[in-house]
Each structure stands twice: as C-alpha cells, then as structure tokens.
Symmetry: C2
Subunit: 187 residues, 2 copies
Amino acid sequence: MRYCLQCGHEAERKIPATDNIPRLVCPNCHYIHYENPKVICGSLVVHKNRVLLCRRAIEPQYGLWTLPAGFMENGETMAEGAARESYEEAEAVVINPHLYCLYDIPDIGQIYSIYLTELKDGAYGIGSESLDCALFTEEDIPWNNIAFEAVRRTLKSYFEDRQQFDSLDKFPIHQDYIGKDQSIKRY
Amino acid sequence: MRYCLQCGHEAERKIPATDNIPRLVCPNCHYIHYENPKVICGSLVVHKNRVLLCRRAIEPQYGLWTLPAGFMENGETMAEGAARESYEEAEAVVINPHLYCLYDIPDIGQIYSIYLTELKDGAYGIGSESLDCALFTEEDIPWNNIAFEAVRRTLKSYFEDRQQFDSLDKFPIHQDYIGKDQSIKRY
C-alpha cells in the first residue's frame, strides 16, 4: 500500500486518462506521482600519473573501490554534482571538469555521468562514506575489487584514451549501455 | 502539508542524520522522500534538408514550436526515450540516434538530452500532444515562436554544424548551461 504525498489518502496504481503508463494516482485529490530515472554524478579525478579511488564505507558494495559519485541534487549542474561528490567522499577539490562517460542503466532506472577532473594541489582526505581513499597507477588498480561496472568501464576507457591523447581535454565522450548484472561479485 | 508515501502519516522537512540537505522525512516510519533532477529526452529529427518541429497542444508554451521531447521513463535508455517521444508527438519513427546536445537547467532541476536522429521513410503525422507537425528548412524555422531555449540552441547548433560536417555521425556533442529565464516570450 502507498499513500498520496499531497493529501495522505490511499493511492492506487492505474493509467491516468492522458497517459499510457501505470502511475500511482490518488483517487481523492487526483495527484499523480511520477517516478523517473535518477542521475548519478561522478568524477574520475586525475593527479599526475594516477587516479583517485574511494573504498566504500556504505552499502551497496561495502568495502569495494569506486569513483566518487552519487545522486545528483536539485539546483546543481552535473559538473557541480561531480565536484560535490569528490569533496564529500574524498575531500578532493577538483578542477577542469569535462564530461567523459555517460551510461544508460535502464534496468535500475539510472543514468551515470562521469566527469574527467584534475585534483587541485594533489590534496585529498577520506570522506565519511569512505573507508579509505588513494591515488592509483594503472598497474595498481584493484580490478578484482571494483564496486560497479560503470566504474570499471570508465577506468578501462581512461587508460586506453591516455595512450592516444596527450591532454585530458582531447579525450572523447564515451556513451554506453550497462545491463542488469552491472555489479561484479564481491570477494 | 505533505504526507508520507509509505505510511500516510504527516511528513516534515528536516535534514536526516546522515545527510546535509533538507528532505521530506516521515516521523512515524522514518521514510525519506528524495527529490532529484529529471531528465528530458528529445530528438532533432532530420529528413533531407529539413528538421521536424511540433506545435504544442499542451501547456507550458501552448501553440509554440518545439522538438519532440518529454520526461524520460524508468526502464528506457535516453535514446529510447527520444525515439518514444518522436513517435508520441509526431508519429515519427526515427533511426540512427546520436547524442547531440546535453543541457543542465539547474534552476528547474532538469537535464535535457537531445539526440540527432533521421526520419525513417520520411513519414510522420501529428501526435495527440501536438497541434501540428512539419518539416522545416533553415530559412523557414519560426525563430520567434520557439517554445524553449534548449530547442532554440539545438537548432542553432545544428545549422552551424551542418556547414562544417558532411555527415550527421560526425557532429560533436554540445554541452551547455541554461539559466532561469530559459523560455522566450510568447507572441
């Protein structure tokens, strides 16, 4: 059972008159509760030859490594969201953001937008949602302990593009689809 | 006053313990109601030398011209959303989608994603949310009667890029910010 946000009455799932998709609708005040995909904003933070990863202190995927990323908030741009998450999860101030990866994950109603950024002054810490944060070279990336497929693909693309392009602002935008089984197994 | 979706109790706006932004929180069942930006998916549908516009039969901006576009739904990709909207608003089957424009509109909590597509077999009609649909050459675009700034910018970019690139799949992705006064005046 679900209730109406507007009036508190019991709501029902039905297709509104002007629509073709079932929605949660209130039979009392007629308010329609739309549910739409959510946007994740994240940052691939680069410093010299290394990239910044955070070890998750929260579920899902507790203990695995990820990029600083989280749900976009109202009132911010995607780049601002990526910068905010970098600070919250790794106390990293990031500069020169460029949109880098954009993933559709329709099975869970999400879009991932990852910005390529640079770490200001090489400074970072450990945010409250992280067990640890560290800069990794390509050789040291913990590939068997990456939290999400979107993170793995972003890292793969980055190390490939780095062979081909001599500055971050020349990196192309990668757009891709991620299916249902998007997270790797935890070890 | 707002009510809890989960239990129907009166909800209150406060900052949850593990958060730093005010949310609608239920004091009874502790459910947190997150509100996040919404994604608009749209299509710049090209056929030969012309582009497809729809005259809006709904508010806001009733009577003005727009691209087929609307809120992205759960379970679809951005490109699928752009194709769905093209069919709903203009009975247009579109092929060869490429992400073309991506706009942050933080003041209204929206992201606009516009795909460059091609009209299959040149066929289209008039969807239920449109008063009219038509293919326009650059000279015939009704610039003084365009519904939204995102639509205007997309059209401007398209006619500029067309001078420079000889096929649609070479067009670059344009990313931009649109401020508060995003709609033009209605005539």
